[in-house]
Symmetry: C2
Subunit: 239 residues, 2 copies
Amino acid sequence: MSKPLTIIPIEGIGEIRPGDELDALIAAVFGEHAATPLLDGDVLVVTQKIVSKAEGRMVMLDHDDSEAKVALVESESVRILRRRGDLRICETTHGFICANAGIDLSNVEAGTAALLPVDPDRSARRLRAGLARLLSVSVGVVISDTFGRPWRQGVTDVAIGIAGIAGVIDLRGSEDAGGRELVATEVCVADEIAAAAELVMGKASGVPVAIVRGVPEAWLRESSVSAEIIRSAGDDLFR
Amino acid sequence: MSKPLTIIPIEGIGEIRPGDELDALIAAVFGEHAATPLLDGDVLVVTQKIVSKAEGRMVMLDHDDSEAKVALVESESVRILRRRGDLRICETTHGFICANAGIDLSNVEAGTAALLPVDPDRSARRLRAGLARLLSVSVGVVISDTFGRPWRQGVTDVAIGIAGIAGVIDLRGSEDAGGRELVATEVCVADEIAAAAELVMGKASGVPVAIVRGVPEAWLRESSVSAEIIRSAGDDLFR
């Protein structure tokens, strides 16, 4: 029996500045008289940008200086997979393959750029622990970012850091509806949760937080993007 | 102002057989006394498998005959991008890049395999028109399938056919929350809707249909996967 999910945009977080306590600012919007309380078993999806801002991952960058942009991108990369003009498809220190090392020039102050968090899984664990402390709730946390992908137009949101929510659920060994064993059925629910949340966040609306409510209890467990979602180079047909 | 979305699994469709009228079977579960009515503006997500079954895209295949499996996969492909053992990463006639040409061996009768629909956008348009006729509702339709991707573990659901719902929404030219113009912000909402729906469908639960309720009205427009989502080879850095 499958149950409905609800994807709820959370507004009122306000502008985030380096050094801000993200857990306290997010907990504040879920206070006593909040329109939407945060509940045990919810998954909180938070965009990378406010995590990067709170963690002080802002650097000075003249957005019109293409050379400086490329130099910054390459300094945040361990490998460049493709080049076209000043676009780079990079492997980051985290093992993400994405455009321009995930460096973000929109929704930041003029003359600055946001780097990815140093360790987004750790950021997610801290936020989860902070919310447990401040609100006495046990939630999953997904830190999401917007990545392109080969072969298909348009970007989608994926998980770059997780805590308390499965990355990949493994259905190998379980049976399909016809009673035969399923093969190749590791589903990346963390990326699907990030994608679902993006539908209510939007790029222009400035909503940096959403709740995904109603995920199966079995998915609420310890995990990390680095252990469950990053595919090792040896196991990858496209590196 | 962003609004919540609800993702509702739809049960009771039953086993689909070649020649079944999919629109009539789906309309039947939304009858007068349905727990969940289908509403104008809903997006109905339907898994590829039941579309393929209804359209008679079943072929005989001994699942244990690796050679026959590979021959079938290659016959459904216009190009093979990668080979490993009996796995093929293929470009299908539709322009999809996916494992084994999207041919499906689970949740089908023993000794058979399900090929992709010949034209999933057309399948989506027909289903949308059928539901308009039978239920007097205007809904978006997404036909979803489960694809792997490079660099990240686990599969996610994507859109292989759409009707009445945007594939990609283009935010270029709109402003970010700081008033600066957004760049590179074509978001593939159809894939995000497919991913969101997968969260309630599950691979083992045999729920082949879900509703995504609450998408912005502006997304409800004519579209197709072939025109909006398939990336041309010349525009692709990974072919």
